[in-house]
Point group: C2
Chain length 390, copies 2
Amino acid sequence: MSEKILDEISHRRFNPLTNSWLLVSPHRTKRPWQGQQEAAVANKLPDYDPKCYLCPGNPRAAGDTNPKYENTFAFVNDYSAVKEQQPEYEHHLIQLRQENDRPDLEASLLKAEGVKGVCYVLTFSPKHHLTLADMSAKETLPVIDHWTRIYANHLAASNPLKELVAKVSLSVSQDEAPTPKDEYRYMQIFENKGAAMGCSNPHPHCQVWTTSSMPEEPGKEMDAMAKYRKDHGGRHLLADYVKLELAKAERVVWENDTFVVICPWWAVWPFEVIIIPKRHVRCLLDFTDAERLHFAEAIQEVTRRYDNLFECSFPYSSGIHQAPLKGTQEEIDNSYLHMHFYPPLLRSATVRKFLVGYELMAEPQRDITPEQATVRLRNCGGELYRKSLS
Amino acid sequence: MSEKILDEISHRRFNPLTNSWLLVSPHRTKRPWQGQQEAAVANKLPDYDPKCYLCPGNPRAAGDTNPKYENTFAFVNDYSAVKEQQPEYEHHLIQLRQENDRPDLEASLLKAEGVKGVCYVLTFSPKHHLTLADMSAKETLPVIDHWTRIYANHLAASNPLKELVAKVSLSVSQDEAPTPKDEYRYMQIFENKGAAMGCSNPHPHCQVWTTSSMPEEPGKEMDAMAKYRKDHGGRHLLADYVKLELAKAERVVWENDTFVVICPWWAVWPFEVIIIPKRHVRCLLDFTDAERLHFAEAIQEVTRRYDNLFECSFPYSSGIHQAPLKGTQEEIDNSYLHMHFYPPLLRSATVRKFLVGYELMAEPQRDITPEQATVRLRNCGGELYRKSLS
Ligand SMILES: O=P(O)(O)O[C@H]1O[C@H](CO)[C@@H](O)[C@H](O)[C@H]1O
Ligand SMILES: O=P(O)(O)O[C@H]1O[C@H](CO)[C@@H](O)[C@H](O)[C@H]1O
């Protein structure tokens, strides 16, 4: 049924979402490892840390004090990568023309543009020691509601999705993110979990960066989705993909009524998964109340299985791609919400896959097939390993 | 003279080589760091390690024994990501048609192709404890000669560069890489240096992966270079870029008669540099004897400055992009050899820049400008810091 030969030979697979290839070397995990070992993370944190800048009631680096919040809490990052206010940037071609006889070269080889935006930090819980894997779907629901509210708050006035805002009932009762003055193009919700993924504070939180420009990755996906729809009589790339994967079954880790968790055909990270809704959903605002809970359930399944896999607090970066904050009706309707998880661990709690030399210079390369990863992740459902330890 | 405003505001810069953007947030290095610290690497290694599988005379993982080599030594990786022999891959559309009513979807959403090739490991020196930073340009020359020889050995029979082979006098006296049976499309020479960059053995070495397919990154560059040449009356993108940077001077770290070391306008990694020849050079075989020594000098300057910057053995991945092993005369002539260095450290020997959540999901983001990095790298030339310590 599956193409078994792909377990044996080196091959490339194509990622239709980003229009790029990766190299798969299934036999390669046999090599000996004398390199860096990650510290296995014990997760013996207290539920409150007086020095944490995300715990309720604590002072933050730049002087503000956190409220005594009960579920989630959002604030503008004290060290934002982008800001709402800054001088405009204009490339000074005329000035350059005097220094240099090639203003045309400047324009194509030294190209830049200003970017405005706002960067939020959003905590998942007041409890310092929790992770999404420890939280039930019901406990995670306020996070999804908060994402939805922040997204709604930042839609451009011209966005046709605006009319949905009034119809969605959200349980967020507090910590509303400030409404920005400007109109932004895209909102990237993402989580860096664990020191191995550059997370600088273990308190459960994600970030939400909103920018006046369309970033590279969602931009590539938007192009691919638009082209696919045009070439396939209006059908959605991810709708077709979900249908195909459900029929073939060999890369499906888990599903509920609304979502499928898949190790995608084109996965780069060893245990990469994607959460895709079965019906066409453009953005968080398209979800019903029941679907938001199903989303929380899917996230719970992924994060718990990750922790169970190597019996550790599994590091990853995750992110949601959805409709832009500002865009044409067509761009909005071409969008198909999904969530990526990119986890670095390969063989144990301490041995990761490094995407380095060849991967950076030539092409991403993976050592186990997505089909092998699927079997591993399918087999580690059940209770969170930590629960049975305590 | 420079566009000083870019030191103050968040902006995007365009990479004309890969046709993509990155986000620059110059004010962001001020944020506190409570995350992972890299182990500062002391480099107190012995000059011979009986357990190292790269030291002369030692047995390797798969059973072979290394010769007592004197300069460089190349062998086929015992755990190669690609191999010279494997079964052919054909996508079994007919079989699939019976399981699934959408063979057309398979073809566009589950695309794969077999990849053959050969992966070499190439040591830089018999001495276990050395790095390129410790080696003089003259000591590094055998490495460049060996790269040139391996490249020459793998050129497809149809490659017009073949006729250069006889003209180049190379000082490699030993350890010839075997000639492959097949014709390969591209050769990627790269080094992973340091545990932080996934290097599993500190013995100084690089890898050379040769594949039947054109990998993503050099493929993108080839396209961009071809388009630029077509749009600019036959001029080369990197030739124009070097001219421009030499005129502006603010991103030039170092130069000799043949090469410029630049923190490129579009650098993603904090102290990323690119080595570019001043004249049009398509591949290693185009270099004169003097130019190969100049290349060794440029690599020496980069690696020594890196080590001096934070007084540590500086981790990086580096790689050479050049003409394909197999290609049309036009593809060969459009190629312009250059060498990238992607080092992860940001603020000290122990604090790195993580390219994680936002970078993976949305767009690469950097915290200091390439102009600031240039000043730092310019100011740390001079003797290798370790030399004055001992
Ligand atoms: O081949 P090595 O040195 O064992 O392995 C290293 O380099 C390879 C090529 O960049 C990567 O695929 C591996 O993840 C990395 O650990
Ligand atoms: O914002 P943080 O958590 O301090 O920082 C982390 O996430 C950012 C967004 O992915 C990255 O740019 C940083 O390199 C990483 O350390």
